[in-house]
Amino acid sequence: MYLSKGLVKFLLVIFLLTQFWGLSLLFPKKLDSANLTNVSDSLSNNRLSFRGELSGAHAAGTAVINLNTSSSPGDSRNTSTGSAALMENETIQVGANNPTNIVRTIESASRVVLSAGITNAQSDDAMVVATSSAVHTVTFTPVSTIASGAFRVLIPSSTEANNDGYPDKDGFDFSTTAPTVSCLGGGSNISFTGVSGTASTSAVQVSTTWYHSFECRYNGTGASPAAVTMYIGTPSGGKLINPSPASTTRFPGQADSYTFRARHAYGIAQSYANVDETLGTIGVVEAVRVTATVSPTLTFQISGRAASSVNCGQSQPSTVTTTYNTVPFGTSVTTTAFADAGQQLVVSTNAAGGYSVTASESAQLTAWNVTATPTIPDATCQATPCTTTTPQTWTSTSYKGFGYTLEDVNGDAVEDTKEYANGYRPFGLTAVQVMRANPAGPVDSDIAYVCYRVVVSGTQQSGDYENYVIYIATATF
């Protein structure tokens, strides 16, 4: 292959230039300024603060407030619209001259119920504030060796009222209590011992933006610096207040981003002049209200009891097995002994107010195929008053009729005065309560036995007597 002279010269020049460039990579020039690496700012709570306003004037004592849902608020600082970003049970302040309150219920996109009425009346467009504060954990790795220098973090602040304790739409509020600053790490040649961090509100301006300044000065040579962590604020102390939405068009889940600056500066001899700087981004997100509703349910169960089982202290005859819808006394009904049989009722509900079970009968036990005395009367017990709501002792078979009593098996569903120790009572045509949640509220498997008792007189005509008992379970309102 033949190459022209010119081409060979050109390739030679290119080769030499490449070699010089390669050599320059082997011996790079040390820069005076560089970027800090691995810079981040983690917020313990990255939710935007809420700063909305009232719609209309609100009188003192009002506990239901209406929020402005307009995208053009009366006060341009109040950029949270409606109640979408509020949470139940969070602290809220209605107007600057009122104490804090609690959000009890969020009724609609604009209506919020507070736990207490507002102390002082508020005019239309008065601010409504729910602050979100966060501890900032800023991490970075220095690259320069600076003896007895300082690390400084700048967090954007608003240009006005940036330390009044109310959220601002264009920066973090310093709060009324200065956040504590502390630093860790830095390696063996950087020591933060004995040097406390400082926090200064809106102390630094870069271009047109103002920043809160947080600084940790250190002792040591600063050689071979390692990662540094700066904490701004403490969980129980002063913290920066997150901004409110930058505009009224924010929707749940949308973030506003802010640029913070991490700096590595000289020490006091050079007036803490800045050396290295890296910019980072903080994302603050509009709240997403997640609600999980456990739907209330009610379950009601009736089941039979086995032959010879003991219910309410009485043995069920060996010939009688009850089912969920029949109590077949059969031939156990006599004139000289009680026929006792039972059923089991079970109720569960997670309804807040609990439940109630009532019972009523269709009629007295009645035989349709007899003419004389076709009914077994409802129990009259052996003491008075023996009514559908008041049980009485019934131990003598001289007192005829059909009645019932109750036994608590699980929970406290039966009123103490209605338990079998206090005797029996008749069913009535009007429903009366037999079980209820005690204490009122959700229950898991309240169980009670209903124990039926019948004894007939010697003149009771033979026949098949029957009635039906209706149990109704409802949740309390």
Binding site: N325, T326, V327, G330, Q343, A431, V469, F477
Partner: protein
Amino acid sequence: MTKFQFTNKSQFSNPKHFKLFSVWFLVFGICLVFGAWFLVIPAKAQTLSLGLWPPILEVIIMPGKSITQAYTITNSGEETIINTKILPFEPSGEHGNISLGGPTSTEVGPLQNEPQFSFDNANLSLGKPFRLRSGEVAQVILKIRIPENCPEDDYYDTLLFNTPPGAKIGQSVSRQAGTIGANILLTVSKDGKPLKKGEILEFGLQRRLLCIGKGVSLTCLIDSLDPLEFLLRVKNTGRAFFKPFGEISVGGLLGQKGEIEILPENILSQASRQINGQCQTEEKIYPCPLTWQPKFLFGPYQARAEIKVADSGSAINGHTSLNFLALPFKLSLTVIVAILGLILIKNRLRIRT
């Protein structure tokens, strides 16, 4: 090679073979029995077991509008027939219980200007029975239509799912019918802002030694060691049900302070309700007595019931304050008895000596 010959015992060529066969047979038999035991389908006891969601529905609706609500009924028991009906109810007592019209009540909705109920299901109609198999979950779509001329008022009804009583069995029998119901609290209002107001009927102490005076001048005497439990009854004097909210604040002359938050529970129109306190765990909010439990009560106190209507925020007035004096009667009595006992013992000892 071992070989089984399935013939008479005497025909096993080797007694060892017979022994081995016996062991195999035994193992096989045991496996068979256990297998059968595990394969047996568990018998389900005869049970009526119905579940209902939601058990309560609260609606504010304008005349001329209609809404639908899906109810889920679950049958965890035997296959059964379900019948449906809607009955009006009234509050029974002051604890949120209901009293249905009773067996003789007619179904609601016969009047043209009252709320009308129907099912929106293609295959189900209100008042007509349907079969619900064991384990089946049925969804019933209840439609509530409010006629244009329906008066602005509250309407309280219960949607009932009945099962039929057991069959006649040719002997003396009491038959049972199980019913599960869902309450419906309906407020018909043209502007969505019905008149909601209430009045405190009674504000007192559950355990007290003595009370004198009436109304705002009511003053009670209690023992310092007794628990302080308040009784608060509120009547709904408006036209629509509401939930009260607020607290009872207690203050003592010696600077003691306490607050008891009340539980927002429905008070139906023209009915009264005994108010519960609000207790809370991580899992649930539940009613509890209106109790304040300081370490030791002493001196004069004043309690104030600061209650409001949830939606309107209007204050519920009436007997809102209560004065009481706590003194250590039981403790004093114990000390006096102890001193007298000591004096008695001392005197006895002196007489002996």
